[in-house]
């Protein structure tokens, strides 16, 4: 049912309940005059019953729980276990007013006095205790109703569970002849069974008499079912839940995915018939001496009929199929140590480099035959590269499912009630990326639960459900993977963040920041909005570490938040760390690679442009002012600047920064080589790649370069001020 429908249902429920309550008042007053009128008692009971049942259905759990006691009391009156007394009438009238108040509260009226509710309920319990004590009636039913409400509100917590084992069951479904008189269609039940797993169903029609004696209103057929499923025996029992009194449903396990020993899998026909109870061991032994097929002999000897043999044979075939299927899936995957894969990726990287060199050389030769070969090699190399990369891809689901436990423990620690829901668990990511993603995700989820999701009573007071939700999503977006952590907590408070940042000296007291900039303050080192440190998030690791880790993966972090509604953190990560699409640029004789995912556009920079801006490092790109970094200056390349340079405009965190280079050569598939130990701490370079002719090109770490340059400039600015 859509929300709209639910809303409409709620309105009707309240209207109807108001009517019922009015009627209830009259009935109660009449009942006080005629305590023995069973019709009146019935009316009161029905009113309470409807309010309770419909209340729960439309989400009025408090009303439903409260009304439960009154209903129980009147059920006892109905059964003659409880007398109608003035006390009971008084209490019920009070309860009626309380229910009315609860409904008013829902429509925006004053808050309900919880204490009064408890008083009234205790009053009912007291009355019933006199009769109920020896029967243990009241207490038991209270707990029961609480349990059922609970299980209705937390269905999502159970979504993720480990893979169940695949089991084959033998089911004999033998309905009573009068099955049809209850409106049951056994064919539908068989169809339902087929949806649970791979099923082989054999109908046993041996008891159906000749046509003249046949009564079509009785059910004389029964069914032998062999079903292979991972849903467990309860799923099968559920199918027959309405007919369990009217049918014989015998369920036996005959094969458990690979756990049973080899011999069990090859049950012979005779053994199957024996274990089904269709023939006895003596009969079987007596017959086995002869040399015909067991089935034929058994039928000839009149021990069983062909239908039973056919059914047993069907089971034999089903088991054989299941076994074959299992062997297929067993060989479908092999485990390989990851260092072997790393070696393979390395080799493919070398091959890609050599191939680039080949293409380059062939272009110089301009020989048609060589060109054709080179193109063929290129195609094969890309295919090889793609399939090698895909070997390293793993679904992110296993990481997701670990968080379920994390969330459970966290909620318990903090006294909160939180559900974890996930989407896109099948999204594949490079193994190394998944590994490095674990810690940042743990931290973000912790933060969501600790700082984001409110305590249950606070949530209820804010008109939200008691249960907070953390929703994890993963999905592909081009060459990137987007991972979203969404909570429906209290959201980030801009004013609190701002004040905190000023207090910590992270920003100036009069700084003007956009909403986005304020949100990203939480990534500043040493920033924490928690009023006090808790055992959960006060571990000295902040969101700054999260951001660093994600950036180390060449990813970005984005925050969106709405006060009172919740926060969404989006991580954008490359699919693989081994290869990037890069833009190859040249400064003097040096080559650099800029990750293509960050490149926004390329524009020219002439001497005239520089003069216009009086030498300041800013440029006018179609009306927008874009600051730039001159790569030549930053890396101290002491050669003449050409007359016309190129600005590669990049976009990081929604900010545009240009990088000035001599030439833009073009797109380049870059196999990343990590820098040696000596160079690994060089700021602004994230790695290197080898070009077709063997030249080394450095990969620019764009976000890092921007921060480094900003730092240098603000330092010199402050120095200038100090002077």
């Amino acid at each position: 049912m859509s929300d709209d429908g639910l809303e409409k249902g709620r309105e009707i429920f309240i209207e109807e309940a108001q009517e019922l309550l009015a009627e209830l008042e009259t009935s109660l007053l009449e009942l006080e005059e005629n305590p023995a009128d069973t019709e009146l008692v019935g009316r009161v009971f029905r009113a309470m019953h409807t309010i309770k049942g419909s209340g729960a259905m439309f989400g009025f759990d408090d009303i439903s729980t409260f009304t439960h006691e009154v209903e129980t009391a009147f059920d006892m009156v109905r059964n003659g276990e409880l007398a109608v007394t003035t006390n009971l009438i008084n209490l019920t009238l009070m309860a009626r007013d309380q229910i009315r108040a609860m409904m008013e509260a829902f429509r925006g009226g004053p808050q309900v006095d919880e204490e009064r509710s408890t008083e009234i309920i205790n009053g009912f319990k007291l009355i019933m205790a006199g009769v109920g004590a020896e029967k243990g009636h009241t207490d038991e039913s209270v707990t029961k109703s609480e349990i059922t409400t609970e299980s209705h509100t937390t269905p999502q917590a159970e979504i993720i569970s480990g893979p169940a084992s695949i089991v084959t069951y033998r089911v004999r479904f033998r309905p009573a002849p009068e099955l049809f008189t209850t409106g049951t269609n056994p064919i539908l039940l068989l169809n339902e069974i087929r949806q649970i797993g791979k099923a082989t169903i054999v109908a046993q029609t041996g008891s159906i008499p000749a046509l003249e004696d046949f009564d079509p209103e009785t059910c004389l057929t029964y069914w032998d079912i062999v079903i292979t499923t991972e849903q467990g025996v309860n799923a099968i029992k559920d199918v027959f839940i309405f007919v369990e009194d009217l049918c014989e449903v015998k369920i036996e396990v005959i094969d458990e995915g690979g756990i049973f020993d080899e011999e069990q899998r090859h049950l012979k026909l005779g053994e199957i018939l024996l274990s089904r109870g269709d023939v006895s061991l003596d009969d079987l032994k007596g017959i086995l001496g002869k040399q015909k097929k067991v089935g034929e002999i058994l039928v000839e000897a009149g021990i069983t009929d062909e239908a039973h043999i056919a059914s047993a044979l069907a089971e034999q075939k089903h088991l054989k199929d299941v076994k074959e299927q299992r062997q297929k899936t067993d060989t479908a995957s092999i485990r390989v140590p990851s260092d072997k894969l790393d070696k393979l990726v390395d080799l493919v990287g070398e091959l890609v480099t050599v191939q680039a060199r080949l293409s380059q050389t062939v272009t110089d030769f301009s020989d048609g035959v060589l060109l054709a070969i080179s193109e063929e090699v290129e195609r094969l190399t890309w295919e090889l590269r793609d399939s090698t990369m895909s070997i390293r891809m793993l679904p992110i689901g296993s990481t997701f499912s670990k968080f379920k436990r994390l969330l459970r423990d966290l909620s318990a620690d903090l006294g909160k009630e939180v559900n974890l829901t996930t989407d896109g668990a099948e999204t594949e990511l490079d193994k190394t990326v998944i590994e490095k993603l674990n810690d940042p995700l743990v931290h973000i989820i912790r933060n969501s639960v600790d700082h984001g999701i409110e305590q249950p009573d606070v949530r209820v007071a804010a008109g939200k459900s008691r249960y907070g939700t953390v929703h994890l999503t993963a999905g592909h977006s081009g060459a990137n993977v987007l991972i979203q952590i969404q909570d429906d907590g209290k959201g980030l408070d801009k004013n609190v963040l701002y004040a905190k940042a000023v207090e910590k000296g992270i920003i100036a007291p009069d700084a003007e920041l956009s909403e986005k900039e304020i949100f990203s303050l939480i990534f500043a080192p040493g920033f924490s909005t928690a009023q006090k440190l808790t055992s959960v998030s006060g571990r000295g690791v902040g969101m700054d570490v999260v951001k660093r880790n994600i950036e180390a993966l060449r990813g970005t972090v984005d925050i969106k938040s709405k006060l009172g509604v919740g926060t969404t953190i989006t991580l954008k990560l490359p699919l693989t760390l081994a290869i990037i699409d890069g833009l190859l640029v040249k400064v003097a004789d040096d080559f650099f690679v800029i990750p293509l995912s960050l490149v926004h556009e390329c524009v020219e920079l002439t001497k005239g442009d520089i003069a216009k801006m009086h030498g300041r490092h800013i440029s006018n790109v179609r009306g927008a002012i874009v600051p730039y970094i001159v790569v030549r200056e930053h890396f101290l390349i002491n050669t003449q600047r050409p007359l016309v340079e190129q600005i590669v405009v990049t976009e990081v965190d929604d900010r545009r920064v240009g990088f000035v280079v001599d030439y833009v050569i073009g797109e380049h598939q870059t196999v990343i080589k990590t820098l040696g130990r000596v160079y690994k701490d060089v700021e602004g370079i994230s790695g290197a790649t080898i070009l077709g002719d063997g030249t080394v090109a450095l990969i620019l770490d764009i976000p890092k370069l921007i921060t480094v340059v900003e730092k240098i400039e603000s330092n010199s600015y402050e120095k200038a001020l100090a002077v």
Binding site: G53, S141, T181, G183, L188, L189, V239
Partner: protein, 121 residues
């Protein structure tokens, strides 16, 4: 042609919810306010299935189930009764009277559709 289901309940909100859910799933729905109303409507409207509450004025759910099973046209149609946790003895009565199955209140729309699919196909 879409199948017709009758919902019998003295609570308008329950009828509304059942009816809304079933219509959303493509069924045609006939509403009746109690057992007596249901039997009267059955006499003129053929239905493929009945979903009935047990506690109702005039004619209750058990009476209605017995009444429907006595009608030659509806002898074999599925009848689902809406029960609550505390009504186990009523459930047994209902089954004895010829109910096909039951749904325990409160229930969610999906559970209702699941049961309808189970008994109606």
């Amino acid at each position: 042609m879409s199948k017709t289901i009758m919902t019998v309940d003295d609570s308008a909100s329950v009828r509304q919810m059942v009816s809304f859910t079933l219509k959303g799933a493509g069924y045609t729905v006939v509403e009746a306010v109690d057992g007596k109303d249901a039997l009267a409507k059955l006499a003129v409207t053929p239905v493929n299935m009945v979903i009935t509450d047990l506690n109702m004025p005039n004619l209750d759910g058990i009476g209605l189930i017995k009444g429907i099973r006595a009608l030659p046209d509806f002898k074999f149609i599925p009848i689902i009764m809406l029960t609550t946790e505390s009504q186990d003895s009523r459930k047994q009565e209902g089954k004895a009277a010829g109910a096909t199955g039951w749904i325990v209140k409160p229930f969610k729309p999906d559970q209702l559709l699941g049961v309808v699919k189970k008994v109606l196909g």
